[in-house]
C-alpha cells in the first residue's frame, strides 16, 4: 500500500472515530449547540407557512447523479427532502420535488414513498412526486420554471448540484415573490446563488441540513467532527506557513531527501 493510500485510510478512520465519539458523548444531550444558519431557519419557517396557508414547497434537487463528484451534494439534497417531507406531513399539499438526474429521480421517489408511508400519507394524490424534468442544464432549468410559477408554491428549496443556469430558477422565484433557499457544492453556482437567492447556503452549509432539520444525532456528530478536522487543517496550514517563514521546511525536506 502506498503512503497516500495509508494516509487516506487514516483520514477515514479519524472521521469514523470522531463521529462515533461525538455520538457517544452527546447521546443524552437534548439541546443542540449549533450556530444559527438563516437559510435553515427560513426552511422551518416556510414549512410552517405552508401548513398554515395550504400552500406547498418546491424542492429542486439539481442535476447531479451518484457516480461523479456531484453525488455528495445530490445525497445531501435527498436528506433535506426527507426531513422537509416529514416536517410538512400535516400540509394539505405535500412538497413537490424535481430533479435533472434520472438516478436521483428514482431515489427521490423512493425517499418520498418511504417518508410518506412513515408519516401515514396513504393518499397517492397527496403524495409528492420526484419528477425528472430535464436532463440537460437548460432543459432542467426551463422545466423547473413551470413548477415555480405554480401559484400554490410558496417557497423554493434548491439543494443539490447546479450550474450557472440556476440563476433562471432563482430569478423566477424572485419574480413570484416566493423565497428561495439555495445551496450547492459547485463554486460558480454558489456565487450565482449568493447574488440571486434570498437565503443562500454557503460552502459546507449544504451538508449540515440533517443536523439543523432534526435528522438525528449522527448528523450533529458529523458537524462536530467537521469542526475538529477543520481546526486540524487550520493548524497544519498555519504550521506550514511558520515552517516556511523560518526555513525549517527546507531543513525537513533535506532530511527526507537524505542529504542532511
Amino acid at each position: 500500500m502506498s503512503a497516500t493510500g495509508f494516509a487516506g485510510i487514516l483520514v477515514i478512520l479519524l472521521f469514523v472515530g470522531l463521529i462515533a465519539f461525538f455520538m457517544f458523548i452527546n447521546k443524552d444531550r437534548k439541546t443542540k449547540n449549533l450556530r444559527p444558519i438563516p437559510a435553515y431557519e427560513k426552511i422551518i419557517k416556510e414549512i410552517n407557512v405552508a401548513v398554515e396557508d395550504g400552500s406547498q414547497l418546491h424542492i429542486s434537487l439539481g442535476r447531479g447523479g451518484i457516480t461523479g463528484p456531484e453525488s455528495a451534494a445530490a445525497l445531501a439534497g435527498l436528506g433535506i427532502l426527507k426531513q422537509v417531507i416529514e416536517k410538512s406531513s400535516v400540509c394539505d399539499h405535500p412538497p413537490v420535488a424535481s430533479t435533472g438526474s434520472p438516478v436521483i429521480s428514482i431515489l427521490a421517489q423512493d425517499t418520498i414513498k418511504g417518508s410518506s408511508k412513515a408519516i401515514s400519507i396513504s393518499d397517492n394524490i397527496k403524495n409528492p412526486s420526484g419528477e425528472l424534468i430535464g436532463v440537460t442544464p437548460f432543459s432542467y432549468a426551463a422545466g423547473a420554471l413551470s413548477t415555480i410559477r405554480d401559484d400554490n408554491v410558496s417557497a423554493n428549496i434548491l439543494t443539490g448540484w447546479f450550474g450557472n443556469e440556476v440563476t433562471w430558477i432563482t430569478t423566477a422565484g424572485e419574480r413570484q415573490s416566493s423565497p428561495t433557499i439555495a445551496g450547492t457544492s459547485q463554486l460558480p453556482a454558489q456565487s450565482v446563488m449568493y447574488a440571486s437567492a434570498s437565503d443562500p447556503l454557503i460552502g459546507e452549509e449544504l451538508f449540515a441540513g440533517g443536523a439543523y432539520l432534526g435528522a438525528g444525532k449522527v448528523h450533529q456528530a458529523s458537524i462536530s467532527t467537521q469542526d475538529i478536522v477543520r481546526w486540524i487543517i487550520i493548524f497544519i496550514i498555519l504550521g506550514s506557513v511558520l515552517l516556511n517563514i523560518f526555513g525549517i521546511d527546507v531543513f525537513f525536506e533535506s532530511i527526507l531527501a537524505g542529504s542532511a
Binding site: A72, A76, V135, G203, F207, V218
Partner: protein, 214 residues
C-alpha cells in the same frame, strides 16, 4: 419477485459496494473489483435514464388531460420526445442494415434544433446573471453584499482590454483580487465542501443515511 429497496438486503448491498469501492482507492489488490463495480454502476445509471424518460413522458401525458395552463408545453414535449425517439430508432435500423454508422437525422436534430436553442438560452443566462449581480444590494444591504458588489465592479473594470478603457492600476487590483482573496476564499470553501462530502459519504457507508428509503 418484488425487491423492496427498503429491505436490509439493499442496505447491505449499498454498504458493501461502498466499502469495496472506497477500499479500492487505497488497496491496489482490489482495484479491479472497484472498476467492475463502477462500470456496473454506470450501466445501471444509463438504464435509470430510460426509466426517467418514461417517467417524464408519463407525467406530461397526465398533464395533457389536466385543466392546466401548461398543458400546451406538455403537448410539445410529448410530440418532440416521441418524434426524436422514432427518428433515433430509424437511424439505428439504417445503421444496422448498412453496417456502418448512419445517424444523419439525429445529428440534424441536435445541430439545427437543440444546439441553437441551448446557445440562445446560454445568452439569456448571461443577461440573467447581470440582473442578479445588479439586484444584490436591493435584496440584502449588508457588508458582505456591498463587498460582493464592488468586487464585481472592480474585476469588470480591470478586465477592459481596448484602449482608452484600459486602466493599468485597475488591472493590477483585478489580478490581485483573483490571485489572493478570491483564490484563498475558493480554497476555503472547497475545504469545507470536502469535509461535508466525506461526512456525507461516511454516513452512507455506516448505513445511517439511506437515500434509498427506510
Amino acid at each position: 419477485m418484488k425487491i423492496n429497496l427498503k429491505s436490509p438486503f439493499s442496505t447491505a448491498v449499498a454498504i458493501g459496494v461502498g466499502v469495496i469501492v472506497l477500499a479500492g482507492y487505497f488497496v491496489p489488490a482490489i482495484t479491479n473489483i472497484r472498476f467492475i463495480l463502477l462500470r456496473t454502476g454506470l450501466v445501471l445509471s444509463a438504464v435509470a435514464l430510460l426509466v426517467g424518460i418514461i417517467n417524464l413522458l408519463t407525467v406530461h401525458i397526465k398533464k395533457l388531460g389536466a385543466d392546466s395552463e401548461n398543458s400546451g408545453y406538455s403537448l410539445i414535449l410529448v410530440i418532440a420526445l416521441l418524434a426524436t425517439l422514432v427518428i433515433g430508432i430509424i437511424d439505428m435500423v439504417q445503421t444496422y442494415l448498412s453496417g456502418k454508422p448512419n445517424f444523419q437525422m439525429t445529428s440534424w436534430i441536435f445541430t439545427n434544433i437543440q444546439l441553437p436553442i441551448e446557445t440562445s438560452l446560454l445568452a439569456v443566462t448571461s443577461v440573467s446573471l447581470i440582473y442578479a449581480a445588479a439586484s444584490i444590494l436591493r435584496k440584502r444591504m449588508d457588508l458582505f453584499s456591498i463587498v460582493f458588489f464592488f468586487v464585481i465592479l472592480l474585476v469588470l473594470l480591470g478586465s477592459f482590454s481596448i484602449p482608452p478603457a484600459t486602466l493599468p492600476f485597475l488591472q493590477v487590483i483585478r489580478n490581485w483580487i483573483l490571485r489572493v482573496p478570491a483564490l484563498g476564499g475558493a480554497r476555503g470553501l472547497l475545504l469545507g465542501i470536502a469535509l461535508g462530502t466525506i461526512t456525507t459519504g461516511i454516513r452512507i457507508l455506516l448505513g445511517t443515511d439511506r437515500p434509498y428509503g427506510e
